[in-house]
Amino acid sequence: MTDISAENAALIPAPQKPVVRGYWGNVWNKLRYDYVTLFFLGLIIAIILIAILAPWIAPFDPNKSSMASRLKPPGFKHFVLGTDEQGRDILSRIIWGGRTSLLMGISPVLFATIIGGLFGVLAGFAGGRTNTAIMRTMDVFFAFPSVLLAVAISGSLGSGMVNQMITLTIVLIPPICRVAETATAQVRTMDFIDAARASGAKTPSILFRHVLVNVMSPVLVYASTLVSASILLASGLSFLGLGVAPPTPDWGLMLSTLRQSIYVQPLVCALPGVAILVTSVAFNLVSDGLRQAMDVKA
C-alpha cells in the first residue's frame, strides 16, 4: 500500500476485526435465530430432565394400583391425567415411562451410529471388494421391513430391556451405514482428498481430518431423525409384548394395555400416544433445524 496522508487516514475506517468462529460456533450462531428448533430443543431437554428426575417429580408411585379408582378420567380426585385399568396414576406412569422410552430412543441410535458409521466410512473409503462385502451384507438387512426385522430379532433374543436395545441397534445399523457410505464415497472422489494425499498424508490422517468432518454432519442429522423412529419402534415392540416386561412403565406398553379400554376412557388411552407423538415430533423438528444449521453453505 502507498502511504496515506493523515487526513485521508482518518476518513478510512479502521479495518474491523472479522469475527472468526469455529465450525460449532457457526452452527450455534445459526441455531440461535431458529426459534422453532430452539423451542423444540428446549422441549426435548425438558422431557429428558423430567425423565431423569422422575422419582422426585412423579406425584405417585407408578406401580401402585388402586382397584377403587380404575380408568378414571383426567382430573378425577388427585389424579391429574386420570388412571389406567389397574388404577395407577397415568401422569406418574408417563413421567416414569419417559425413562424407558427415551433410553430406547437414544441409546440404540447412539450405538448404531458408531457401528454403522464405522462400517459405512470403511466401505465408502476402501471401495472395491470391501465395499461390496459390507454393503451387500447391509442389503440383506434392508430386504426386511424394519418392524418385521425387529420382531424377528426380538423374538429370537427374547424380551427384556437389553435385548430390545440390541434389536433396535441391529435394525438401525444398515440405514446409518448406507448414509455414511454414500457421504464417504462422495467425499472420496473430491480433489481435496487427492491434494491431501499429494501432500504426503497417510490414510488415517486423511480419514480423520478430511473425511470424517464431511461425513459427520449428514450422519448426525440422519441419526437424529432416527431417534423418533427408534422410540416408535421400541413402543411397537413393547406393544407387541416383545419389549420391556409389563410392570415397568413404558409408553408403548401403556398404549398396548390401555387399548382395550379405548371405548371406556378414550382420552386416557390416548395420553401415552400423545407423549410418543410430542417426543418424536420434537426430535424430528430439532434434527431438521440441525440439518440446516450444520450446512456450512447455507
Binding site: 476485526k17 481435496f192 487427492d194 491434494a195 491431501a196 499429494a198 501432500s199 504426503g200 456450512v296
Partner: protein, 377 residues
C-alpha cells in the same frame, strides 16, 4: 544424465535455491517411458476385456526454472499424466528421476520426499478445498503432515496467504464457500506452496476462471515463480495461455507426445500436422483472420483401440502407407531440452514418407480431411 556423486559435491549451489542437488544442467524432472492403461472390465466375471491407453510411452524432461506447457485435446491424457507424476494413481511402467534421484527406488528419493518437492494445483477450485476446514487450516495441513507443529504451520499458512495476495486476517478464517473462484484458486496455490516445493504441476489451474481473474492468477504464478525458484508444468487446453506462460511446450495426442520444443518454435513453425491443426483451431483475436473451415475433422480415435503406426494418421492430410506400418519416434528428445522434435515421418528424411525432409510450412494445407476420408466424401 545423473551427475556422479563427486561431481555433484563440486558443483556450486546456485544462489537462491538451497535444495538444488544436480546442478543447473540436470533436468529437475526426467520422465521415461511412462505408461498407464486403464482396464475396462465387463462380463459376468468382471474380467478385463479391454484397455484404455491413457498415457502410452511418454518421455520428456523438465528443466530447472522453466515452465513446460502441456497441450492437447480433451481426453488426450493430460490430466492422467499429471496424476501419474504426482503418484495419485499407480503407473504401469516408466521411471521418474527428480533432480538426478530416481523416485521410489532403493537408491533414489522416497515418494514422500518427491511429494514434498512436487505439488499440484487442481482445476476444480471448489472440490479441491475441504469445505469443512477454514482455508488457513487447509493450507497448514500439508506441513503438519510432515511434522511441523500446528501453530508454526498456521503462521506459515498466513504468510502464504499474504504471498498469494489474500489478507490473512480477513480470509484465513473463511470457509471455501465464502471465497470467489479466483480467491479459492489463490488458496489452492498457497496450499501447494506450503511444503516449499520446487515444482508445481498446474492442471488446468486457471481454466475455470473468467478472463480477468485468469490474468491475475497467471501474473501471480509468474511472480511466485521468480521469487520462489519454481518450475512449472502447466497443463491447459487454452493455447493462448500456454503460449503466454510457457518456455517449452509439449503436445499430446491420444496418450502420446507428438511434439515437444521451445514455445516460439512450436507456435511459429510446428513440425507435426496435428500441432499445426491444433494451433489453427485457436481463435484469432482479429475477426478478419478467423478461419471458416475446421483444420481437423472427425473425433479423435478411440483410445481403447488406437490406430496402428502413427495414431494421428486417420485424421492426417499427409498420411501414407508408411504411417500405417510404422510408429514414428520422437527420438532422444527427453535428453535435450533445446531440441524441437516431432513424432512424424515427415520430419525423418529416411523414414520413407514421400514428403520426408520437407518442412510442414512448405506443404500445401489443401486437404483438411485425410485423403481416404476425402475420397469417401
Amino acid at each position: 544424465m545423473t551427475a556422479q556423486p563427486t561431481e555433484r559435491h563440486l558443483q556450486p549451489v546456485p544462489p537462491g535455491d538451497n535444495n538444488d542437488r544436480g546442478g543447473k544442467a540436470q533436468p529437475l524432472l526426467i520422465v521415461q517411458n511412462l505408461q498407464k492403461y486403464f482396464p475396462i472390465r465387463g462380463g459376468v466375471l468382471n474380467r478385463k476385456v479391454a484397455e484404455v491407453k491413457a498415457v502410452d510411452d511418454v518421455s520428456f524432461s523438465v528443466m530447472k526454472g522453466e515452465t513446460l506447457g502441456i497441450v492437447g485435446e480433451s481426453g488426450c491424457g493430460k490430466s492422467t499424466l499429471a496424476r501419474l507424476l504426482m503418484h495419485l494413481m499407480p503407473r504401469d511402467k516408466g521411471t521418474l528421476v527428480f533432480d538426478g534421484d530416481p523416485v521410489d527406488e532403493p537408491h533414489g528419493i522416497t515418494l514422500r520426499e518427491l511429494r514434498r518437492n512436487m505439488q499440484m494445483v487442481f482445476q476444480d477450485s471448489y472440490s479441491s478445498l475441504n469445505p469443512r476446514l477454514p482455508v488457513v487450516d487447509s493450507i497448514a495441513y500439508g506441513p503438519t503432515v510432515h511434522g511441523v507443529a500446528t501453530s508454526e504451520a498456521k503462521i506459515k499458512a498466513r504468510g502464504l496467504l499474504e504471498k498469494v495476495g489474500l489478507r490473512p486476517d480477513l480470509f484465513g478464517g473463511r470457509y471455501p464457500h465464502e471465497l470467489s473462484g479466483g480467491q479459492k484458486q489463490r488458496v489452492n496455490i498457497a496450499r501447494a506452496l506450503a511444503l516449499d516445493p520446487r515444482m508445481l504441476i498446474l492442471d488446468e489451474a486457471v481454466s475455470a476462471l473468467d478472463k480477468s481473474v485468469e490474468a491475475q492468477v497467471l501474473n501471480l504464478l509468474g511472480y511466485l515463480k521468480r521469487h520462489l525458484n519454481l518450475t512449472y508444468i502447466f497443463i491447459s487446453h487454452d493455447l493462448h495461455v500456454v503460449q503466454y506462460i510457457s518456455d517449452r511446450v509439449l503436445v499430446m495426442y491420444l496418450g502420446q507426445v507428438v511434439e515437444i520444443g521451445p514455445v516460439d518454435r512450436i507456435y511459429n513453425a510446428p513440425k507435426h500436422p496435428y500441432t499445426r491443426a491444433l494451433l489453427q483451431s485457436a481463435l484469432e483475436i482479429d475477426p478478419e483472420h478467423r478461419i471458416e473451415t475446421p483444420p481437423l475433422v472427425g473425433d479423435p480415435p478411440n483410445p481403447i483401440n488406437p490406430p496402428s503406426g502413427c495414431r494421428f494418421r486417420t485424421r492426417c492430410p499427409y498420411a501414407e502407407a508408411i504411417c500405417e506400418r510404422e510408429t514414428p519416434k520422437l527420438g532422444k528428445a527427453a535428453e535435450n531440452p533445446a531440441e524441437h522434435v516431432a513424432a512424424c515421418h515427415i520430419t525423418n528424411p529416411v523414414a520413407g514418407h514421400s514428403m520426408a525432409g520437407r518442412t510442414l510450412q512448405s506443404l500445401p494445407v489443401e486437404a483438411s480431411a485425410p485423403r481416404a476420408l476425402a475420397a469417401a466424401l
